[in-house]
Amino acid sequence: MNDSLWWYLTRSTGIVAAVLAVMSLAWGLFFSGRTMGKRLKANWWLGLHKWLGGMTLVFVALHMVVSWLDTDQGLRLVDLLVPGGTAGWAIGYGVVAFWLFAVVVLPSVATVRRRIPRTAWHVVHLLAVPAVVLTGIHTALSGTDSPARSFIVGFALLVGFAAFTVTVRVVGISEAKKNPRPARVRVHRDLVDA
């Protein structure tokens, strides 16, 4: 079993990283759409969204390191960093997803975010959606467990959940554009007729 331990770890870290990526995306969409209700505070959603994003990056990096340590895979360091090499595009999609996650998460660190304009940060942050999509493609093409029924069911649930959250957010944005809320104007009480 020892010679296959890296292989088992590669699979398990990949699955956990994919789940964390979808959860982080969902939390961010719930927070930005303000669709979380009033029971939990907004800063709870935002704080957990940031945390899950960081954990996603950590587990993706762990997944790459472990797959490199599994010598049976025959992956070189360049295969993990440059997509579309000899390892094929089944691995390449995962490499692109990794770089997209890094581009999304790292500029969101407080010290970096203060230095870039908000619009630029927001455009870069939206790359999280294609990153999650590429993660799903990578999982379907290169996952050892992809033919298993339990995996197919779990994968379908994850894809459905991600699609649901994105759809809810997109619908919320279009609704907000059709029915813009009036701006709140605070009037001093001395200026209001009694």
Partner: protein, 250 residues
């Protein structure tokens, strides 16, 4: 001297309000200034305020409360870390157990107790008469000691069948002039469309890798790991059969 009435306010909104006497502003009270330390004197150290536990109220020296901010979603963050680590460890253990169960059921070469059916024996088929020309092959078993070199004779050698959770795999190699010139997969998992699709993509790559490597040291194909493992075992079995057949003749 009678006090002068206050002038009417200019703002009409205020004029329409019920009249209320505007109280005079309270006398401004300037807080007492702290005396400056004499020039050259050392600044007295600020009194130490012990850090209060998170969530409780500490007091500054002047008595005003100083509350530390509780980290946001702390419990949820800890739970997410614990859940992720537990899931990773649990999945790894489940995969390892599945791998052992598969090998026990298939009676693969890794088992030592002989439970289940053993691998189906392959056959040695010579395409033509044994030829004295061939490259020497040195086999290195797991013990590390090299066996004497053997000249592989031309011919077709079939490996044992190794079965994984998706189906059986059996490989046949063709030697010519001492090198592997062709690989034929006689059996592969084809019980469902997904297996057929995966193996149709993976098997040509495995065959090409075998001819390039001239042995069983081939890399795994993404998404076809079970097939790769059984293929490698059957291929090694065919190579061993070729060596043993060549050694007995040569």
């Amino acid at each position: 001297m009678t006090p002068q009435p206050p002038p009417p306010p200019i703002d009409p909104l205020i004029r329409n309000r019920p009249s209320t006497a505007v109280p005079p502003p309270p006398p401004t009270s300037v807080p007492p200034q702290r005396p400056l330390p004499p020039t050259g004197a050392a600044t007295p150290a600020r009194p130490h305020v012990a850090a209060a536990p998170v969530g409780t109220t500490a007091r500054r020296p002047d008595g005003t409360p100083s509350r530390r901010r509780r980290p946001v979603a702390r419990r949820s963050k800890v739970a997410s870390v614990a859940l992720s680590i537990t899931a990773t460890v649990g999945l790894t253990a489940a995969f390892a157990r599945h791998g052992i169960d598969d090998e026990v059921a298939a009676g693969g070469a890794d088992t030592t107790d002989g439970t289940g059916t053993g691998p189906e024996p392959g056959s040695v088929g010579a395409a033509g008469s044994p030829s004295a020309v061939g490259a020497t092959v040195t086999t290195v078993p797991q013990g590390g000691a090299a066996t004497p070199s053997v000249t592989i004779l031309d011919g077709t050698y079939t490996g044992d069948t190794f079965t994984n959770r998706w189906g059986p795999v059996q490989v046949q190699v063709v030697y010519a002039a001492g090198t592997i010139t062709d690989v034929v997969v006689l059996r592969y998992p084809d019980g469902d469309r997904k297996s057929v699709s995966i193996n149709q993509r993976a098997l040509p790559r495995l065959e090409a890798s075998t001819i390039a490597a001239q042995g069983s040291a081939i890399s795994r194909v993404s998404g076809a790991t079970y097939t790769w493992r059984s293929y490698r075992q059957s291929l090694q079995s065919a190579i061993d059969a070729a060596i043993s057949a060549s050694g007995s003749v040569g």
